[in-house]
């Protein structure tokens, strides 16, 4: 198969995989980086908190939330654009989600 001619569902899967990998990078950075550098970060202060303490108790949670929400929104947007692209072909099931709403 020539590049660019794969079915929309395959292109979608490749993009989802890339998105997943891209979002796991900040996750790993926070999970390992915040605890590891907490003593050094705690020399700085934010809102009265030592920064290391703040990152572990609040900052990291906000990053996690951004990752999960970002993933849900990006996937929805991806599905919407792919649905538009393949609109002309009624046999394609670009989202691979046929029947999802009525299972």
């Amino acid at each position: 198969m020539l590049p660019g001619t794969e079915p929309a569902s395959l292109r979608r899967w490749q993009r989802v995989r890339r998105l997943t990998a891209a979002l796991l990078v900040p996750w790993v950075c926070v999970v390992l980086g915040v605890p590891w550098f907490a003593p050094e970060l705690s020399e700085l202060h934010l809102l009265g908190f030592p920064l290391g303490y703040w990152m572990a108790s609040q900052g990291a949670l906000l990053v996690f939330l951004a990752i999960v929400a970002g993933y849900a929104l990006s996937c929805d947007r991806l599905d919407a654009t792919l649905a538009e692209e393949t609109h002309a072909d009624p046999h394609a099931d670009p989202r691979g989600t046929q029947g999802d709403g009525h299972a």
């Binding site: 899967w13 691979g96 046929q98 999802d100 709403g101």
Partner: protein, 711 residues
């Protein structure tokens, strides 16, 4: 979204919006009744009865015998509500009661739980939830069975039962603790009353009833957590947003901790404990003679008291101590060692607690201090080296524990199962985001609560004369001496920080009393803790019962069973598992949190590699999955069994275990997951390629071919 679904969501908004207002009105009403002089027992009972009644009514309305309704709530729970139900499922007695307590006791180290219990949702969202939803069956072993065959299903089902049962026992324990606090029943009766509350939901309506009850339980528990935290925040800082406000309190707490470390009277307390430790150590030199000496001393004391015609109570107290003396040398040795370790722990600055905001701090023990004062330059240097090694080990353990909890989150069957209950794949993804939002709401407040309570204790309790101690200390220590005790160790008539021992379980439950809030808030918190424990217990109970009835009985033993029979059997299983767990809980376990962490390690080791490889690696096959799961479980169980003191005792192993990289046994998953993953990969490469059916399944869950759902 179809119109019917839109109307359904609107109806849910109305119902649960009304319910949330009702909860607030109920609290205000009881607050007013308290002012009018209602006795506290009545208010506590009202909270217990009213909340359990609401859950029971929802459970009854949602009763069902339909299979899809019973196992996956009809697959029509909208994302936001599924998120709320997941959050309630998730936040257990340990989260609600335990987390702030651990943060109070361990300071920074406790944040590993906060990180671990939220960060795992990234893995759930990115690696599993959408794929499980597209797979669209009933249980997690269902996925393993379809992807890898019957053996993987059975191992998966048995691991599910093992993990969830450990976790369930902890929940029921929490239910018993709170019920006995609310009503004054004994702990054992409390367990069985609470058990009724669990069963009315899950027994009749399965997942459907549990889901809609859990939404209500989430509302109760978040209101119950928010009210005291915001109240304390306003009271201490004037700022109603605790997350922003407690930065200032962290600084104040740290400052006061430094004052207390330097306080000469605190040093007296430390010296008393150091002496006790030395005394216990001396007794260990000749256990037999020391035991005999202790006995003689007590008998003489009793004789003296009798001769002096002392009050009967004091004589009986001494007689009880005499009866409780160890009977043989071995148990005497154990007692002396425990006494010495306890005294050593308390012979430290701040009663052995680390400075609150400092990462990986280890308070210096007095013994080490004396050594370094007496020793030469060289021993001073090694002492510093030891301190650095300890702080490095604390950092490693922090990361290991957080990782285990995260990977364990992404392998907890009762959480993953919730991906099946949403109407679509897109809603499954959004539901994880909602779940994390609702969970983070509580976990952002837990560290604040811990700091507010510590502030109250440090500034308003330490330094109070013993005869003016607040009422809550006496009341809670009467319930159990392990919860709180305050003894005038140095005999100056004033409470020092080192003289106060508070259990982690107490911090949240007693926070309103410690902060001087009305009783009604204390009972609201207890009702919230009950909601947290019940909701998690319900979810776990269903997971276990479904693994047994659906995966083991129906899929393996009797594939001809009719749907009605399957649902019937699932209900019977719910009942039996609940009774078994209640029995285990009534045996009184140690502190709540280590058991929970152990369950997470087990879940991560047993299930995570097989599940993720099943989605992301086409080549993964039956041999690899089964070998990987067994290896993961084996490594995890081996490391725990050879390193936990009580399992060592059970197995008759002498001495302490050999730890790898000094990692705590509850974080065994940090070794077991990579081991399981490696074996799964090697096994898959050795075994044959997956067949056509498995390949088609992988295509389907990745969205490469429709239809999305088999039903």
């Amino acid at each position: 979204m179809p119109d019917a679904q839109v109307a359904f969501v609107r109806r849910l908004h109305r119902i649960y919006g009304g319910f949330a207002l009702g909860v607030l009105a109920f609290v205000v009403l009881l607050g007013a009744l308290e002012r009018l002089g209602w006795p506290r027992g009545w208010i506590g009972a009202m909270f217990l009865i009213a909340t359990i009644l609401v859950y029971a009514v929802i459970g009854l309305i949602s009763r069902t015998t339909d299979e899809v309704e019973y196992f996956v709530a009809g697959r029509r729970v909208p994302a936001m509500y599924n998120g709320m139900a997941t959050a309630a499922d998730w936040m257990s007695a340990a989260s609600f009661i335990g987390t702030a307590g651990v943060l109070y006791l361990q300071g920074f180290a406790g944040l590993a739980y906060i990180l671990g219990w939220t960060g795992g949702y990234c893995l759930v969202a990115l690696l599993l939830a959408p794929y499980l939803r597209r797979f669209g069956q009933y249980t997690i072993p269902d996925f393993l069975g379809a992807r890898y065959g019957a053996l993987a299903r059975v191992i998966g089902a048995l691991s599910t039962v093992l993990v969830s049962f450990v976790y369930l026992v902890v929940q029921i324990y929490g239910v018993g603790l709170i019920t006995s606090h609310l009503t004054g029943f004994t702990f054992e009766i409390g367990i069985f009353v609470g058990l009724g509350g669990v069963l009315v939901c899950s027994f009749l309506g399965g997942m459907r009833a549990v889901t809609w009850t859990q939404v209500a339980q989430y509302i109760v528990l978040i209101v119950a957590y928010t009210v005291p935290v915001v109240w304390l925040s306003v009271k201490q800082t004037g700022n109603p947003v605790p997350m922003l406000a407690y930065g200032a309190q962290v600084a104040q707490v740290s400052e006061r901790e430094r004052e207390i470390e330097a306080d000469p009277r605190e040093r007296e307390v430390i010296e008393v404990f150091a002496q006790r430790a030395r005394a216990a150590n001396a007794k260990l030199a000749d256990v037999h003679a020391s035991l005999e000496a202790d006995r003689q001393a007590l008998m003489q004391r009793i004789a003296e008291l009798k001769a002096a015609d002392a009050p009967l109570g004091r004589i009986q107290q001494q007689e009880r101590r005499l009866r409780e003396l160890p009977t043989d040398d071995d148990s005497a040795r154990a007692t002396y060692i425990a006494q010495r370790d306890e005294a050593l722990r308390r012979a430290q600055p701040l009663g052995g607690l680390p400075p609150h905001a400092q990462p990986y701090a280890r308070p210096q023990s007095v013994a080490a201090e004396e050594e370094s004062q007496a020793g030469s330059m060289q021993s001073g240097a090694t002492h510093e080296g030891n301190a650095r090694a300890m702080s490095d080990s604390a950092r490693r353990n922090f990361i290991a524990l957080a990782l285990c909890l995260m990977v364990g989150t992404a392998a907890m069957p009762h959480i993953l199962m919730r991906s099946y209950t949403t109407p679509s794949v897109s809603e499954a993804r959004r539901s994880v985001a909602w779940a994390l939002f609702f969970i983070a709401l509580l976990y952002l407040m837990a560290p604040a609560l811990a700091v507010f309570v510590k502030y109250e204790v440090l500034y308003h309790l330490v330094g109070v004369p013993f005869d003016e101690l607040p009422e809550w200390i006496r009341r809670w220590s009467k319930l159990s001496r392990a919860l709180v005790s305050a003894r005038d160790v140095n005999g100056d008539g004033v409470l020092q920080f080192g003289e106060l021992v508070m259990s982690g379980d107490l911090i949240v439950l007693a926070a309103p009393e410690i902060g001087g809030l009305p009783n009604v808030v204390g009972y609201l918190v207890a009702a919230g803790g009950l909601a947290a424990a019940l909701s998690t217990a319900d979810g776990l109970l269903l997971t276990i019962a479904n693994a047994l009835s659906h995966d083991i009985y129906y899929r393996v033993l009797n594939p001809q069973a009719s749907p009605i029979r399957r649902v019937m059997l699932a209900k019977v299983m719910v009942l039996m598992v609940a009774l078994g767990a209640a029995y285990m809980a009534s045996l009184h376990l140690a502190d709540i949190l280590p058991f929970v962490a152990a369950a997470f390690s087990l879940a991560s080791a047993a299930l995570f590699p097989a599940l993720t490889l099943g989605v992301f690696w086409r080549r993964a096959n039956a041999l690899g999955a089964a070998a990987g799961m067994l290896t993961g479980l084996g490594v995890c169980l081996y490391y725990m069994a050879t390193n936990l003191p009580w399992t060592r005792a059970l197995l008759g192993l002498p001495g302490a275990g050999a730890r790898w990289f000094d990692i705590d046994p509850v974080a065994a998953g940090v070794f077991a997951v990579p081991a399981g993953l490696a074996v799964a990969i090697v096994g898959s490469l050795i075994g044959p390629s997956p067949g056509a059916m498995q390949s088609a399944l992988v295509e389907r869950i990745r969205g490469l071919s429709g239809p999305a759902s088999p039903s």
